[in-house]
Structures are given as structure tokens and as C-alpha cells.
């Protein structure tokens, strides 16, 4: 086990460690620290006036709704795809798996544009929905769709990796003993992947809350209507309300740090798996 073989740092190694630490402190840690310094720079009173404003409350509410919707869609679809990828053999499995990963390497702006072109007022789908009185783009549906697209891979791949490792024997045994397929899924498969599912949901949720590029394209940025927390941060910053922007940013950062803490706690609790 290589991980346990550890060298006592020599002089050269100490220099290398120092250089790495200095690089990370300057380029990675500083941007994190500056968020806190700037958020509290305007004073607690300034923060309070920001948060009692309707716009801040609305942005937080909208982000919460979008995040919950994206979690619901991606958790159910992710479980389904992970099940298909890990419990059956078929041609084109690698292709399906690559398509699931696709949103990870597509620019969020391109993702937003794609949603706009597929569901916008000029697309057949957009026209059909508009005729039935439903506005998709520059409204909540497109905000959810853009977020679902961007966060799509997280749950599916976390769950698929664990389902794959566990193989098919348990399901096969349950089926041999006469269990029906739905109960095999609910009572055998799902309990075994609940840690991976939770883990994927934390990743998905953290990413969904902070999604900016894709949401920015499809939102139309209607203030007080389609303005999520990241879009509100942009608006405040562009109005030179820097401390306000960082106060909103702090809300997101605290939520993400909580997500990381949850992930670490989960990893400890399920360490035996």
C-alpha cells in the first residue's frame, strides 16, 4: 500500500512543500478569504438592510426552488440511468455513459444557449407551449432545465460507480427467491446505494445553487422575477454595491461549506462501505 509509505521530508522536499503551500495560499486560498473580508467590510448593519430587502429574499427563494427541482429530477433520472448502466449488458453502454458525462465539459454558456434554442420562443416546442399559455424561456421552467442540464451527471455517476462495484448477485438472488423487480429495486438495490445517492445529491445541490452561466443566458435577468442568488450578486456588483454583492456571495459560500461538511460527515459515517 503506497499511501502508507511516507517519506520524512528532506531539505529539498521542505522547499517543495513550502512552494506548493505558497502557491495554493496565494492563488486559491486568498480568493476564498477575500469573500469574508469584503462581506463583513460593509458592517453588519449594511448586511441587515440588504437581507430585509424583497429582492434578496426573492433571489434566495428562487434559488431554493430551482435547487430542489433539479435535485428531484436528477435524483430520479440518475437512479434510473445508474440502474440501466450497471445491471445490464448492452452495446453502446460506453456511449450512453459518455453522453451522461457530456454536460461536464460543455460550457455553461453553450448549455444555456442550447436550452434557449430548444425551448425558446422560436423553437417548435416553445411555440407549442406559448400557444397553451406556458412561458418556458425567461421564466422558471428554463431556469430549472438549464440547472438540470448542468448538474445532470453528478448523481448518475456517483450512484452508477457504486452499483457497478456491487454487481448483480444480490438482485439475482432476490429474483430467484421470487421477489418481483420493483421490490428488488426498492429493497435490495436502493438501500445499498443510499450513501452514493446522498453524496451525489450534495454535489448536485451545491452546484445547482451556484449555477451562473447557463442560468444567466435563459433567465432574461428580469429583476425580482428570474433573478437567482448568483444573478443578484452580478447585478449588485455591477451597481458598485460591492459589499452587498459579497454579502450575498457569503450566503452561497456558507451553503457550499455546509455541503462539504455534510459530505465529510457522511464519509465518516459510511466509512465501512
Amino acid at each position: 500500500m503506497a499511501g502508507s509509505v511516507v517519506r520524512k521530508p528532506s531539505v529539498a522536499a521542505t522547499v517543495l512543500i513550502g512552494a506548493c503551500a505558497a502557491f495554493v495560499a496565494t492563488f486559491v486560498l486568498m480568493p476564498f478569504v477575500v469573500v469574508f473580508a469584503q462581506a463583513f467590510g460593509g458592517g453588519i448593519a449594511a448586511m441587515r438592510t440588504l437581507f430585509v430587502q424583497g429582492e434578496a429574499m426573492h433571489a434566495m427563494g428562487l434559488t431554493a426552488i430551482i435547487t430542489i427541482a433539479a435535485l428531484a429530477v436528477n435524483a430520479s433520472v440518475g437512479l434510473l440511468i445508474a440502474w440501466t448502466l450497471s445491471k445490464y449488458r448492452f452495446h453502446g453502454k460506453a456511449l450512453l455513459s459518455a453522453i451522461v458525462d457530456l454536460p461536464l465539459s460543455v460550457s455553461p454558456v453553450v448549455a444555456g444557449l442550447a436550452i434557449l434554442l430548444a425551448f425558446g420562443s422560436r423553437s417548435p416546442l416553445g411555440i407549442w407551449f406559448a400557444a397553451h399559455g406556458v412561458k418556458l424561456v425567461f421564466a422558471l421552467p428554463a431556469l430549472v432545465m438549464a440547472t438540470v442540464f448542468v448538474t445532470f451527471p453528478f448523481i448518475a455517476r456517483e450512484v452508477a460507480a457504486v452499483m457497478d462495484e456491487q454487481g448483480r448477485q444480490l438482485e439475482e438472488a432476490a429474483l430467484t427467491l421470487g421477489a418481483r423487480l420493483p421490490s428488488v429495486f426498492w429493497r435490495v438495490t436502493l438501500p445499498n446505494v443510499r450513501f452514493a445517492l446522498l453524496n451525489g445529491m450534495i454535489l448536485c445541490g451545491a452546484r445547482a445553487m451556484g449555477e451562473f452561466g447557463a442560468v444567466s443566458v435563459v433567465s432574461g435577468k428580469i429583476r425580482g422575477q428570474t433573478e437567482t442568488i448568483p444573478l443578484y450578486i452580478e447585478a449588485l456588483y455591477n451597481e458598485y454595491n460591492v459589499s452587498g454583492a459579497f454579502a450575498m456571495a457569503l450566503v452561497l459560500v456558507i451553503a457550499t461549506v455546509a455541503a462539504i461538511a455534510l459530505r465529510i460527515a457522511l464519509a465518516r459515517r459510511y466509512a465501512h462501505q
Binding site: 503506497a2 511516507v6 495554493v24 469584503q38 460550457s107 454558456v109 451556484g210
Partner: protein
């Protein structure tokens, strides 16, 4: 049924294959493929000459130069620094190691808009890091250097994590064996360890590159967004959309999509089980 179970390795003992696959394809189709298809369909509605005019205008070409050029530089920096950090994290135990390990994931954890305003505040000419740099005549914010700095930030965890996961599984006996046989340490590293890490480094490089090319939120605030000079392609797409020039935006998006597909292909060829690191 018992027979079916006994035939180990037989395809699809578990029933429900057809509905599972059909539903999965339907979901992937609606969520991922339909939007991508809309981009390709819109593009096919543009004539060749028009497409060339839109995707190869001098402003577009300059945006590719800024985007791909900065992303290549940033990914190269991330790969070199990432190797050093991965090496330090895996091979040594030292005070503060846990903090360093956690700090690597900050770019994953910081939402891009937050990273964007933080970097812009840090590197403007009066910022904590921008002021000392400006005193030496180096301006980071609103220059291409600012774009590179932002891309280095978002790409670093990919470079570190891909190499670290391979390095931690590398049998330590290998370099010990080489040293027993008389190889000196730098030689061992160059001729034994580095070749084994090269594929992971290339994957990390490609992932950092993909992330850099597509990045938007961390860059818009620190880049000057000046056409021809500090305007990345993602921002030009947004500009075209704000002008309701959907075809112009689509032509640019097609170029970026093509770059993503090539990078995915490279990553998938290099790594059988692709694991994109995250948070």
C-alpha cells in the same frame, strides 16, 4: 429461472432491460441530447458562407485566440503545479497537510460568480494582490493575465486530483527498486515515476483545458471584455444573444462544442473509467 442464474456471464439475467433502457434513453434524450440537437439543427440552417462569416469574423477569431490561448497556458501551469502538489500531498506527511488538501477543492466549492467577484476584487490595482503587482508595473485585472489567473484557479483541482489518485496507487517499491539498482533520485523520478504519471497528467491537462475554455462566471468580472483584446468566446456568445443574433451565437457555440467533443474524446481514450473529480 434457476438455469438463467446458473449461466453466469449470460446477458441480462435481471428482467426489465427493455423498459429500463427505453426510459433511460428517453431521459438522456430530453435532458441532454435535445438541447445539443437544437444547436446542431440551428447551425445546419445557416449556409456555409454565412457560417464562415459568423464563426471566422476577426472579432470571433480574436476571441478564440484569447480563450484557447489563455486556457492552454493556464492548463499547462496547472499541470506542472498540480504534479508538484499531488506529489507533496501523497508522498509526505507534514503539518498543515490536511489544510492544503482541503484548500485544493476551493475552486470546486466556490460558485463561479463568487469566484469571479473575489478574483476581480483581489487583483484590481487596489486589491490585496493587484496593488503589489501594479507597483511593479504588472496589471492583472482587465488584461489577458487576469483571464489566465482565473483559469488557473478553476482548473487546478482537476490537475491535482487526477495525478494524486494515480500516484497514491503507484507501488512505492518501484522507485525503491530503481534506487536499489543504483538509480539516483532525480533519475528515478524522470525515468520511472513520471512516465507512469504521464497519462494522468494528460487527463488532468485536458480537463483543466476543457474547464478553462468553457469558463464564464469566474472570468467576466476580471477580464476587461474588450473586443479583440480581452473578450473570451463565452462572453461574445452572450453579446450576440443580447443583440438577438441567435445565428451568430450558435456559430460560436458550435466551435466551442467541437472543442469540447475533441477533449472528451481524448479524455475517454486516455482513461477507461473516466472520473471527473468534483467538490
Amino acid at each position: 429461472m434457476a438455469q438463467a442464474v446458473l449461466r453466469r456471464g449470460a446477458p441480462n439475467v435481471i428482467p426489465g432491460f427493455t423498459p429500463s433502457l427505453a426510459l433511460s434513453l428517453c431521459a438522456v434524450g430530453c435532458i441532454v441530447l435535445l438541447p445539443i440537437a437544437a444547436v446542431i439543427l440551428t447551425m445546419s440552417g445557416i449556409t456555409g458562407a454565412q457560417l464562415w462569416h459568423l464563426a471566422a469574423s476577426s472579432r470571433a477569431i480574436d476571441s478564440y485566440r484569447v480563450t484557447f490561448g489563455s486556457a492552454l497556458i493556464a492548463a499547462a501551469i496547472d499541470t506542472v503545479v498540480g504534479l508538484a502538489i499531488a506529489w507533496v500531498l501523497v508522498r509526505y506527511r507534514f503539518p498543515g497537510r490536511r489544510v492544503l488538501d482541503l484548500a485544493i477543492d476551493i475552486p470546486f466549492a466556490l460558485p463561479t460568480a463568487v469566484a469571479g467577484i473575489a478574483l476581480a476584487t483581489l487583483y484590481n490595482d487596489r486589491g490585496w494582490l493587484g496593488a503589489p503587482a501594479a507597483a511593479h508595473g504588472i496589471h492583472v485585472a482587465f488584461t489577458q493575465l487576469g483571464i489566465v489567473v482565473a483559469m488557473v484557479f478553476v482548473g487546478l483541482p482537476f490537475a491535482v486530483r487526477t495525478v494524486a489518485s494515480v500516484l497514491s496507487e503507484l507501488p512505492h517499491e518501484l522507485d525503491e527498486a530503481a534506487e536499489t539498482l543504483g538509480s539516483r533520485q532525480p533519475n528515478t523520478f524522470l525515468r520511472v515515476t513520471l512516465p507512469l504519471l504521464a497519462p494522468a497528467m494528460l487527463v488532468g491537462f485536458s480537463m483543466a483545458l476543457a474547464r478553462g475554455i468553457g469558463e464564464y462566471g469566474s472570468i467576466i468580472f476580471i477580464a476587461g471584455n474588450l473586443p479583440h483584446r480581452t473578450e473570451i468566446t463565452a462572453i461574445l456568445i452572450i453579446t450576440r444573444l443580447e443583440e438577438y443574433d441567435y445565428q451568430g451565437a450558435t456559430a460560436l457555440a458550435a466551435v466551442m462544442l467541437a472543442a469540447s467533443f475533441v477533449l472528451i474524446l481524448i479524455i475517454n481514450v486516455l482513461q477507461r473509467r473516466v472520473r471527473w473529480p468534483g467538490l
